[in-house]
Amino acid sequence: MNAATPVETLSFEDALGELEGIVKTLETGQTKLEDSIGQYERGIALKNHCEKKLREAQAKIEKITVGSDGSVSTAPLDPPQ
């Protein structure tokens, strides 16, 4: 994973994957001390990013409507009870 990729642009999955990678690397203790601090900081940033993504999760439910000319549009769908 490219450490230079800004955390904000990462997908949840990539961020989580990188976070896991950093955690594992740190846990093996093979990292150089200076690197480990950088990794920790990035890990925390990734963790915050993931949490934000999870908090943002909200339902929005729409329905496709196909017009007579074949064009499609959406309208809110009331979930069936």
């Binding site: 949840f12 925390i44 993931c50 999760a57």
Partner: protein, 461 residues
């Protein structure tokens, strides 16, 4: 009996035919039309079971085929408008029950079955058809594992192709809400009956062809779902058009058709087959709570990892520092070494001196003072002179004794001694000793000498 009788009657009538005038004369066209009418009147609505044979769709869109069984064969036609509405896609070898009417085409007077609807002849036939279709599509590689796309870990937008009403969409939405609420776009379709397959296929293609940055957010995951039903109900999801739409769709697709035991061709073509719509929602999104927990855990591990690394580094540093040693200690060691060597040097030197001294002593002992030598010489001289003196005495004494013995011997041997023992010396007048008695004459004078020189003269007679 009646049949027999009538048969006889007919025979008689036929036999009585020869006079031709009684039989009306038709034109070919009249007869053909009459036949057509008769056929359509008597066979205006029939259900025929048979196997489809020689299926072909002409450029006009009409389908020409035949229905056959092991005894006979009837040509059949299905007009374009009807063909599109059929719930069964006609295929070669398909066992069907066809509803329609018998008609004839006057230009050739060939009769044919005009198909109005078609259904599969029983479940066995249906399954057989599905099996063959499945083989065909599998041979094309539509179900290859290599085609399966990976589902997104957390999709941003989920497109659902299903009926907008009913339990299926409700189950999916509820489960999504429980696990990980997402933006859902429903593409409403008929899920069974005529036209359902086309709608489903079009919805899949519709979702897949949405522009990336259009007014409608393009789903990054599609769920094709339908509740349970009979095999016939699920048929749209067995249609080639649906299977192909799913297989060629570039967006990952989860299929959830029917119950767990139902597997449709749509399921085979999909990237993931969920047993139920609820399960599809579970596969579509991870559990947000689990992710939260995982992230919390990751955070903890991150902190622990860093702490441990720091601790380990500190310990390593301390260990290395300890191994580096105290400089004063190093010095002490050196001093001790020096002391030790110094002592050793001293000892060795002392030993050396002692050895040399002993050597000197030994050598010196062998050197004597001249005086001592003189003393010794004197001593020797003294000794020798003493010795000599002793020798001299011994020598003189010896000689004296000898002399004495000789003297005594001489003394004892002297004639005087003999005289003393009574002997006399006879001598002539001239004093000459006479030892020979014969030499003595009677007339001669003799002298006798006795001891102590006493002499007596003896005269002749």
């Amino acid at each position: 009996m009646t049949d027999l009788f009538e048969f006889k009657n007919n025979n008689e009538t036929n036999n009585a035919a020869p006079p031709k005038s009684n039989v009306p004369e038709f034109s070919v066209g009249d007869l053909a039309l009459s036949l057509k009418r008769t056929l359509e009147e008597n066979f205006g609505h029939v259900r025929v079971r048979g196997e489809l044979s020689r299926v072909s769709i002409a450029g006009s869109g009409h389908m020409y085929t035949s229905l056959k069984d092991d005894q006979a064969l009837i040509d059949a036609v299905c007009w374009k408008g009807v063909l599109n509405r059929l719930s069964v896609r006609p295929e070669e070898g398909l066992e069907v029950i066809v509803t329609g009417k018998i008609s004839s085409y006057p230009k050739s007077s060939k009769y044919q079955l005009v198909i109005e609807s078609m259904e599969l002849a029983g479940e066995g036939a249906l399954l057989k058809m599905l099996e063959e279709r499945k083989k065909k599509l599998a041979a094309e590689g539509l179900f290859d594992q290599g085609r399966k796309k990976r589902l997104p870990f957390v999709p941003n937008v989920i497109g659902v192709v299903t009926s907008p009403t009913g339990a299926v969409i409700r189950d999916i939405l509820h489960r999504l809400q429980d696990r990980f609420p997402r933006h859902v776009i429903v593409w409403p379709v008929l899920v069974q009956g005529t036209g359902a397959a086309e709608q489903v296929a079009r919805a899949i293609e519709g979702f897949d062809s949405l522009p990336d940055n259009g007014p409608i957010t393009k789903p990054d995951l599609i769920i094709v779902a339908r509740g349970g039903g009979s095999l016939e109900d699920l048929m749209p999801f067995n249609e080639e058009i649906v299977a192909r739409a799913i297989a060629t769709c570039k967006t990952p697709i989860i299929s959830a058709v029917g119950h767990e035991t139902d597997t449709t061709l749509a399921d085979y073509a999909a990237d993931y087959r969920a047993p139920t719509p609820t399960a599809a929602a579970e596969v579509a999104v991870p559990h947000r709570r689990d992710l939260m927990a995982q992230i919390l855990d990751d955070k903890k591990r991150l902190l622990n990892g860093l702490n441990r690394l720091l601790n380990e580094s500190r310990h390593k540093l301390e260990a290395q520092g300890a191994r580096l040693g105290d400089p004063s200690r190093l010095l002490e060691n050196k001093v001790q070494n020096t002391d030790f060597l110094g002592q050793k040097l001293e000892q060795v030197f002392k030993n050396f001196i002692q050895t040399k001294d002993a050597q000197l002593q030994r050598t010196a002992a062998r050197i004597t003072h001249p005086r001592h030598q003189i003393d010794q010489a004197n001593q020797r001289l003294q000794n020798w002179s003493d010795q000599l003196l002793k020798t001299r005495t011994r020598l003189t004494e010896k000689k004296l004794d000898q002399l004495n013995s000789y003297a005594r011997l001489l003394d004892s041997l002297s004639y005087e001694k003999i005289l003393k023992r009574g002997y006399v010396v006879v001598r002539d007048t001239n004093d000459k000793p006479i030892s020979d008695p014969n030499a003595i004459s009677d007339a001669q004078d003799l002298q006798l000498e006795f001891a102590d020189n006493k002499r007596v003269h003896v005269q002749s007679q």
